[in-house]
């Protein structure tokens, strides 16, 4: 029994590794056009437009109640849009029921059938495919090998661990070779260690199968590492779409800047506009700050200025270049790989500064300690100007 299982594993693994990869160049593989969903008077999703490429891992990121799950359920066919249309691979899916869509979903709770073995769970979706019994069996074996569960095929879901259940759910959803795989908070139920491991496994499997993934998550780290692109959602609307770098380094609004990572945000007024940079007056920092210019700035305009904590440098002496402000260290938290300083400016505003502990030093040799007078500075390119 063991011997045959081993050879089967080896054989189907070879098959799974065969290149099924598709180039991520088809621009409009999935098209969501003006989709709105209302429940009674509540608007869960409001006029969303989105285009997703073939073979992409795309994340919908947002807090609870932002409409990301409703959007996912509309893609799966569990909810009908109040307005708008959904196309997958050029086909209009809007009026198709869930069981006729080339889409499969991995549920947050995994939703494994408790009365069926792992094998039967994975095979369930194949009942409706036009396949021979042998073909079906091969596919199930291939899927179980892909998620490394071959030896658990005769267990029931309650007889395996949470991480294994997650992989069964993935294998079941991929067995029908859907054009689009939806993942609802795929890692939320796993503990931290397992989550990191599974994250890379997911990316690996996506790479092997070439399936387009749409992931719903509230975890920004998860979204940033997993996805090729992501959309930040709030109150049923998409606030920004882009790569992780786009969204983190070039947020288009205060909401996105605050939602992804942490940020120091200030009210400011534009004083002069140059070619590359603009000067803004920031009362809370007690002076003028030079920041990277954005389109459509006018002198005298009210605006917001934001800087991420890790882009600020602390020093004892006043630095020669960049925007420098004097302050006093109010608080200090040591995390091992980095430290977080809370520095109060002359106006009383407290800002966060994060610094990587690149050198191995004792407490006495730290850059700054409680109640030390320091300078903090940041490059003009690190200062983000935000109009909304």
């Amino acid at each position: 029994m063991n011997e045959t299982a081993a050879t089967v594993t080896a054989g189907s693994k070879g098959k799974a590794e065969a290149p099924v990869r598709q180039k991520a160049d088809e621009p409009h593989f999935i098209r969501i056009e003006g989709v709105t969903k209302r429940f009674g008077t509540f608007t869960a999703v409001s006029d969303v437009n989105l285009e997703i490429r073939k073979g992409e891992i795309f994340s919908l990121l947002g807090g609870s109640g932002c409409g990301k799950t409703t959007l996912l359920r509309m893609l799966a066919g569990f909810e009908e849009p109040t307005k708008g249309r959904i196309y997958i691979d050029g086909q209009d899916m809007t009026d198709l029921p869930a069981y006729e869509r080339p889409v499969n979903m991995m549920f947050q709770s995994y939703a494994l059938f408790p009365h069926m073995t792992v094998e039967k769970n994975v095979a369930y979706g194949l009942k409706h495919e036009k396949m021979t019994a042998a073909g079906r069996q091969d596919r199930v074996r291939e899927m179980l090998a892909l998620v490394q569960l071959t030896e658990f095929s005769h267990r029931k879901p309650h007889q395996i661990s949470g991480g294994q259940r997650q992989r069964v759910a993935l294998a079941r959803a991929l067995a029908r070779q859907p054009k689009l795989l939806l993942l609802d908070e795929p890692l939320a139920a796993l503990d931290k260690k397992l989550r990191e491991h599974t994250q890379f496994e997911l990316m690996d499997i996506q790479d092997k199968t070439g399936t387009t993934f749409i992931v719903v998550t509230h975890d920004q780290e998860e979204a940033m590492t997993l996805s090729s692109r992501l959309a930040v959602m709030d109150k049923g609307q998409i606030r920004q779409i882009g790569t992780a770098t786009d969204v983190y380094e070039y947020p288009n609004s205060k909401f996105v800047a605050g939602f992804i990572g942490s940020i120091n945000l200030f009210d400011a007024r534009v004083t002069s506009v140059g070619a590359e940079t603009a000067k803004v007056e920031v009362p809370e920092l007690g002076g003028e700050i030079e920041a990277r210019a954005i389109d459509g700035l006018e002198a005298g305009q009210g605006i917001s200025m934001a800087v991420r904590p890790e882009k600020i440098v602390l020093s004892r002496q006043k630095p020669k270049s960049g925007n420098a402000v004097a302050g006093v260290v109010r608080d200090l938290a040591y995390f091992g790989k980095d430290s977080l300083y809370r520095v109060a400016t002359g106006t009383g505003r407290v800002i966060s500064v994060s610094s990587v502990n690149a050198r191995r030093v004792g407490e006495a040799e730290r850059v700054a300690d409680w109640e030390d007078e320091v300078w903090f500075s940041f490059d003009p390119s690190a200062a983000i100007l935000l109009k909304e």
């Binding site: 066919g77 069981y99 499969n104 979903m105 709770s109 494994l112 059938f113 369930y124 267990r155």
Partner: protein, 312 residues
């Protein structure tokens, strides 16, 4: 149990005074006094001999201490066998109908909104607020040959069939049909409630998962909802089948006297025939007939559960 397990003063007090034993013991005492003792009395009585004394039975003396005559009569007189068969057949058919009617109702209850669900559940339970006997009498009134209900059905029937098949009324009272009809009506809530409790706990995302994997709604029901509701089906069926097979009032009031059910046989033996030992023997036989299959089922169910646990 070490005292270090009981941390709060209340817990310590509870254990020191032995309250835990009383709490656990009370239901056992109840079962001993109100089930086990009467059962032993009935069992003993079934081996006694009928005498014209009060109470009308005795052991020993000129009679044998253990008298098996009543058990022998159970098999020799076909009245008893026919009564058992009628009871089991009627109860089984009524259970089946309850399941057929109750399942969609229970499933429907889990699918409507919260506020509707409470109203509908209330409607299921509401009949319990009037006397059972009264409800059976109400059915007698409805089924009687001169009732508006019977007249209505008769006129519909006469409107459909050829003229020479016409009836003055539809004979419903004192038939087996009436027994099953009233049994189904009376026991339906006992089917709906356990089924509802079971179906309500099922994770709806399982249905969505099956649909997502290509199953149409009926397949989803057959592959997911139905197999997962088997415990509810069994619980509901037991709750209907067991009391229905021993039912006394319904067959006595609306049933046919030529096809008695076992409950009525027991009552007749106790009262008009004044043969307490015979009545006891019939009752014990009924118990064995109903409880033994149940015990076998429970045994195998527990065993398969343990086997699953071991594998895990």
């Amino acid at each position: 149990m070490s005292p270090s397990h009981h941390d709060t003063p209340l817990e310590r007090w509870f254990h020191r005074r032995g309250w835990i034993r009383i709490t656990i013991g009370t239901p056992y005492l109840w079962l001993i006094f109100f089930f086990l003792l009467p059962f032993i009395i009935v069992l003993a009585m079934s081996f006694a001999t009928r005498t014209p004394t009060a109470p009308p039975f005795s052991f020993g003396g000129e009679n044998p201490v253990l008298n098996f005559a009543h058990y022998q009569r159970l098999f020799s007189d076909d009245l008893y066998i026919r009564a058992y068969l009628t009871s089991v057949a009627n109860a089984a058919f009524a259970t089946f109908l309850c399941l057929l009617i109750g399942y969609p109702m229970a499933l429907g209850l889990t699918r409507v909104s919260r506020s509707w669900r409470n109203v509908l559940l209330m409607l299921v339970i509401l009949p319990f607020w009037t006397s059972f006997l009264l409800r059976v009498y109400a059915w007698m009134g409805l089924m009687g040959s001169n009732s508006w209900f019977n007249k209505l059905l008769t006129s519909i029937y006469n409107g459909i069939v050829p003229a020479d098949w016409a009836l003055r009324y539809i004979p419903m009272m004192n038939t087996n049909f009436a027994v099953i009809l009233v049994t189904v009506y009376s026991y339906l809530p006992f089917m709906i409630l356990p089924l509802y409790a079971n179906l309500e706990k099922l994770d709806f995302s399982l249905n969505e998962a099956a649909m997502d994997l290509g199953s149409r709604p009926f397949r989803v029901f057959r592959d997911v909802t139905l197999p997962l509701s088997v415990p509810g089906i069994i619980a509901g069926s037991m709750l209907v089948f067991i009391p229905a097979s021993g039912e006394l009032i319904i067959p006595s009031l609306v049933g046919s006297s030529s096809r008695p059910m076992i409950g009525r046989v027991i009552a007749d033996e106790f009262t008009s025939a004044r043969s307490w030992p015979m009545a006891s023997a019939v009752a014990i036989a009924l118990l064995v007939l109903l409880v033994v299959p149940l015990m076998i089922y429970t045994y195998y169910d527990a065993k398969s559960y343990e086997k699953q646990r071991e594998e895990a």
